[in-house]
Symmetry: C2
Subunit: 135 residues, 2 copies
């Protein structure tokens, strides 16, 4: 399942991508428009800012804004920051690899074999979609 965190994060990015001139948008505005708990969204936007997707401006007239062009934001990076590993099992993860403690031999593991394909196909989708493609 996709977490609400990722879902809300994607919606917020989409919303910001549609704003003219990258004007700062208040959290409250995004939360209201996308039906998201404001406090929860706050923490998500913070994560996105810390990871280089968003900039923020404090004080009156402040808010969050995109600091990259939507076409330069691939879904791979968004997903990894918000959702974590793209792979369904750590033993086939590129960025979060971990050996299974129960499995003695990855090369002969049927789960490994299948999940490797699933990872590749998902990766293919994420690599071929930038934020611009979702608008």
């Amino acid at each position: 399942m996709l977490s609400k965190k990722t879902k809300y994060g994607l919606k917020a990015l989409t919303y910001l991508a549609k704003v003219d001139d990258r004007q700062p948008v208040q959290i409250a505005e995004i939360a209201k428009h996308e039906n998201i708990s404001q406090k929860f969204l706050e923490s998500i936007l913070l994560t996105l800012r810390r990871n280089g997707f968003l900039g923020s401006k404090k004080g009156k007239g402040g808010g969050y804004y995109l600091i990259k062009e939507p076409k330069d934001i691939p879904m791979t990076t968004v997903m990894r920051v918000l959702e974590g590993p793209i792979a369904m099992v750590p033993c086939v993860s590129l960025n979060f690899y971990e050996k299974c403690d129960d499995c003695p031999n990855e090369d002969e593991c049927s789960v490994h074999k299948l999940m490797l394909q699933v990872r590749d196909s998902a990766l293919d989708v994420y690599r071929n979609n930038t934020l611009a493609d979702l608008l």
Copy 2:
């Protein structure tokens, strides 16, 4: 993340597919060989039996056995029975569809758009793999 239930279920199916003549195999044997908690595996095998993948034989010399040819067991059905929906969000699920309560318009939803592609690519993998392909 792939649940251990699915992981163990797949491993058990693979194990049973390799057995000659579809001889019944005891739970304990599978559990030991695949490093799975026996009681947990028991419940998984029961699910697989109830869903038409396995047969069982009670009493001495009993156990579980495949009742179909591995090539006739597509991963789509295995995944749906063990893991549930293949889609990452209910609003793009074929077999477990549900409308998002926060999203007013699916056609304009960026998450929907992306997750539809992810679902299709995963589905593609599962449809092109039977149990026989994982041996």
